[in-house]
């Protein structure tokens, strides 16, 4: 294997990691609060707001139902507004983030739903405010489920980032398509797939480890 190829694979790996890291981080920062809102505004919940809940639900579902490759090109004007360009790795990170936010939100909502209502009731009986219930009961108790959801998101983003080549974002998926498929180089194709598999394995193991460490259930 030539050193040029090794460089190319290394470069693409960094691009993939960069896109996944940026989009996961921002999606977590925005998706977790959205997931909390989706949960606490449900009917009979601590901040029940059926109208807001319904609205958020629709928005989240719309976000989740648009195929990623369409989202990628559909929001190009928005991407240009945010990062100043519609091509490149940064430009690919924007649609990745947008796609991941509702994904994270639904997974967080699901994790919160696993928290026993009895715990919320107990906190209420102690005179906890809704904010205290969120910060001291719901989020800590759902910690394992939330980390699990974020792991799933990161893995999904690794896979989505393969489409980033469509906007010149680079990354391993792009490398595999351009060199492996378009130039009929099965070695490159194989290498990119192996690197992606190893990457996903590592993320999953790290996620599982963090879940085990943080959860005392």
């Amino acid at each position: 294997m030539s050193s040029a190829l090794i460089d190319l694979v290394w470069q693409s790996t960094l691009e993939t990691l960069y896109m996944v890291a940026v989009s996961s981080l921002i999606a977590a920062l925005l998706g977790v609060p959205l997931g909390v809102l989706l949960y606490v505004t449900r009917p009979r919940q601590i901040l029940a707001q059926p109208v807001i809940n319904g609205l958020l639900g629709v928005i989240t579902n719309v976000g989740r139902s648009i195929p990623f490759i369409i989202l990628l090109v559909a929001i190009i004007p928005f991407t240009r507004m945010i990062v100043g360009s519609s091509i490149g790795t940064n430009a690919a990170a924007v649609p990745l983030t947008i796609a991941a936010i509702p994904f994270v939100a639904r997974l967080v909502e699901g994790a919160l739903n696993e928290v026993s209502p009895g715990l919320v009731e107990a906190a209420q009986s102690m005179g906890a405010t809704p904010m205290q219930i969120i910060l001291k009961v719901l989020l800590p108790e759902a910690r394992g489920g939330i980390i699990n959801g974020l792991t799933i998101t990161v893995v999904a983003l690794v896979s989505y980032s393969a489409m980033a080549g469509a906007v010149g974002g680079g990354g391993l998926g792009d490398l595999g398509i351009r060199y492996g498929y378009n130039r009929f180089n099965p070695t490159v194709m194989l290498i990119t797939v192996v690197v992606l598999v190893v990457m996903v394995q590592l993320f999953q193991s790290l996620g599982d480890y963090l879940v085990r460490k943080s959860d005392h259930k």
């Binding site: 026993s116 009895g118 715990l119 009731e121 107990a122 906190a123 209420q124 009986s125 102690m126 005179g127 906890a128 405010t129 205290q132 001291k136 009961v137 800590p140 108790e141 910690r143 943080s214 959860d215 005392h216 259930k217």
Partner: protein, 347 residues
């Protein structure tokens, strides 16, 4: 200390409305342990949740320590809830917090300093016998230990009232006993007023001073525990008592019982005696004065809060006239006579 005034709770509305509580009046004086017993679905859980307004009554007023909770705004209500500790059937401990941090939670919510929290939590762990478990997590504890943590947590905010929602129902009999004696200790040492709901007569018998019986959302009977166990006023109360004492006639006898007296039958009676009548030599008197034989099929003596309760199922063997007179004599004493049926003579 706790007063419920004509409290009602209805779920839903219109044709599908369900009345969970109806016109409940309840007063629990300071320092007493008050039990509310009832079958599942009778409204017990709703009742206790109406005291700290986890459920808001549809009508009526709730007072705790002279303060009308039903008149407070949400912020005032949260403040008032520090006066009411609560423990639950399934403990409701936070799984990702250590024992220490679980007990500290109510104090954190009240924004106490770390130092103040430490000074409060450690003695509570001592009181509940958990000092060596402070760093452990709930998953590592037994059910009884979990409920002790919950009790320590409920006491952290120095409440005046402790609400117990089926606190021992998920525990085995031995653990139940130890949790009940802890509750009794807390009641006596800290002067805490306790309202508990349960479906177990054992709980009422061991620690309650007064008891209310709830059925279909209504308090149908209320009495001192000694009176309730010796002479329940309602049919449901009697059923609870008989179940508790396991004083049901044996199956073989039930199969022979006939509803109506015949020419050749003897009555089978269930006698419940309390107070003075326990020490009266009733059986020999019946034999001597009415010339009948008494065959005792089942008997039991219980001691409840210093009062003695005797129970007996017996067949009265004599002629129709003799047994009629014997029954009249029995009823003239301070005891409850219930004719269960009649059996054919075998002699």
């Amino acid at each position: 200390m706790i007063t419920l005034e004509r409290v009602s709770k209805t779920y839903g509305s219109g044709g599908r409305a369900v009345q969970a509580l109806e016109d409940i009046d309840l007063t629990v004086p300071k320092g007493t342990i008050h039990g509310v017993i009832g079958l599942s679905g009778a409204g017990k859980s709703t009742l206790i949740r109406c005291v700290n307004l986890l459920e808001r009554p549809s009508a009526g007023r709730v007072f705790v320590d002279g303060q009308e909770l039903t008149a407070l705004n949400p912020a005032q209500l949260r403040q008032a809830r520090h006066q009411c500790g609560m423990i639950f059937q399934h403990f409701n401990l936070l799984t990702n917090r250590s024992v220490y941090d679980n007990v500290a939670l109510p104090l954190e919510l009240m924004r106490e300093s770390r130092g103040a929290i430490r000074e409060r939590v450690m003695p509570l762990l001592e009181l509940t016998g958990l000092a060596d478990k402070a760093r452990q997590y709930p998953a590592e504890l037994s059910g009884g230990q979990k409920q002790r943590v919950a009790i320590a947590r409920a006491l952290a905010s120095r409440p005046k009232v402790l609400l117990c929602d089926e606190a021992t129902s998920a525990l085995d009999p031995q653990t139940t006993t130890s949790i009940l004696s802890l509750l009794q200790e807390i009641n006596q040492q800290l002067g805490l007023t306790i309202l508990l709901i349960t479906h177990e007569m054992e709980v009422v018998k061991s620690i309650c001073h007064r008891v209310g019986l709830i059925s279909d959302g209504r308090l149908v009977e209320e009495a001192d525990v000694g009176d309730f166990f010796t002479a329940p006023a309602t049919r449901l109360g009697r059923e609870f008592l008989n179940d508790f004492l396991e004083l049901e006639p044996p199956q073989a006898l039930v199969e022979r019982l006939e509803a109506e007296a015949g020419a050749h039958t003897h009555p089978v009676v269930r006698l419940t005696f309390s107070g003075d009548s326990v020490s009266t030599p009733l059986i020999s008197r019946l034999a001597r004065e009415h010339g009948i034989d008494v065959s005792i099929l089942q008997a039991k003596v219980e001691s409840i809060q210093g009062r003695t309760l005797g129970l007996m199922i017996a067949e009265l063997m004599g002629s129709a006239e003799q047994t009629r007179q014997a029954l009249a004599t029995l009823e003239s004493f301070d005891l409850h006579v219930e004719v269960l049926g009649h059996v054919q003579r075998t002699d």
